[in-house]
Symmetry: C2
Subunit: 159 residues, 2 copies
DNA sequence: TTACATGTTAAAGTGCACTTTAAGTCAAGG
DNA sequence: CCTTGACTTAAAGTGCACTTTAACATGTAA
């Protein structure tokens, strides 16, 4: 039930202002723009993925750059990196290490993981394909077929 | 540190006994034979995947058939089924439904899941491949590239 | 007798990425 | 003045498949 919000620019200047450059957003607005929940943004901050923003009356105030950080997080997640790995990406290198080099270091490892993952999923796909052709009357028969197979030959219960 | 165990047949007759058919195993032995931890076996029982075995002095006593049940569980897990789905496989059908039909019903659904999963992993593999070719000096540059891209064309930060 | 290995239970812990809840602050609007 | 909505925090909850822990029972060996 996404209710309508009257959501005016809360702090700083917005799009239609004279020099329409330096914008400031509340956490709610940042969340809307990044299509995230505010809780996720706070979580990233607490996990060290997002720099602590300045505060106005105790409330977080973000600049446009926050959106770029969130984009990096999303990009990394889209490549299969965990929160811990993203933290490593951000803070696990000498500060003058270029992004290109950081990505290469982490992506090389992850690429192997990902290929393993693809292989596992494909193996499961194969097993499913054979299960669909199963003709066992009872599940115990399937079990017997698998148990018997382990010591002798290799065949999935298709009988 | 898997210490040596003297593990004699605790109950019932073992392999070398006259009519070497009806065997009984303790949970520890079943676990060894199935290459599982005893806690996993108790967990399967509590989850309704394994029939409650008879007891001797309060202790669980298993027959060879338990190994077949565990084989079915393993087979299903190898096809990507969750514990809840395996429970459905075992108890979610009219009791005279043949195994073949049970598998087909569940495997058809799961096959789609699995293909989605393969596609996702392959998409991640692609992203990783592009990240390895990234030449951004800073991560913010990657972020800017992704943020800018969203409204305009589609290109992963290779600059 | 003592010690040990193995078993029993219920309940809590694990790892991951968040979400939800509870209790409170604060400014604007009616 | 009071409500509303958005924000703040710390802590607990979620879902999954188990594992670990704590406290106790019991049969066998030294």
């Amino acid at each position: 039930m996404a209710r309508r919000k009257r959501e005016q620019e809360p702090i700083g200047r917005g799009v239609g202002t004279p020099s329409a450059t330096r914008q400031s957003w509340s956490i709610g607005e940042l969340a809307r723009r990044a299509d995230l929940q505010t809780s996720a943004i706070r979580y990233y901050e607490s996990a060290g993925l997002l720099p602590e923003p300045r505060r106005y009356n105790g409330r977080r105030v973000y600049e446009a750059s926050a959106l770029e950080w969130l984009a990096v997080i999303r990009l990394a997640q889209g490549a299969g990196f965990s929160i811990a790995e993203i933290r490593e990406l951000l803070h696990g290198f000498h500060s003058d290490t270029p992004a290109s080099q950081r990505w290469r270091a982490l992506a090389a490892r992850k690429l192997e993981d990902m290929r393993r993952r693809i292989d596992e999923a494909r193996a499961m796909e194969q097993v499913l394909g054979r299960l669909i052709q199963c003709e066992c009357p009872t599940l115990q028969d399937c079990g017997r077929a698998v148990v018997g197979e382990s010591a002798s030959e290799s065949e999935i219960p298709a009988r």
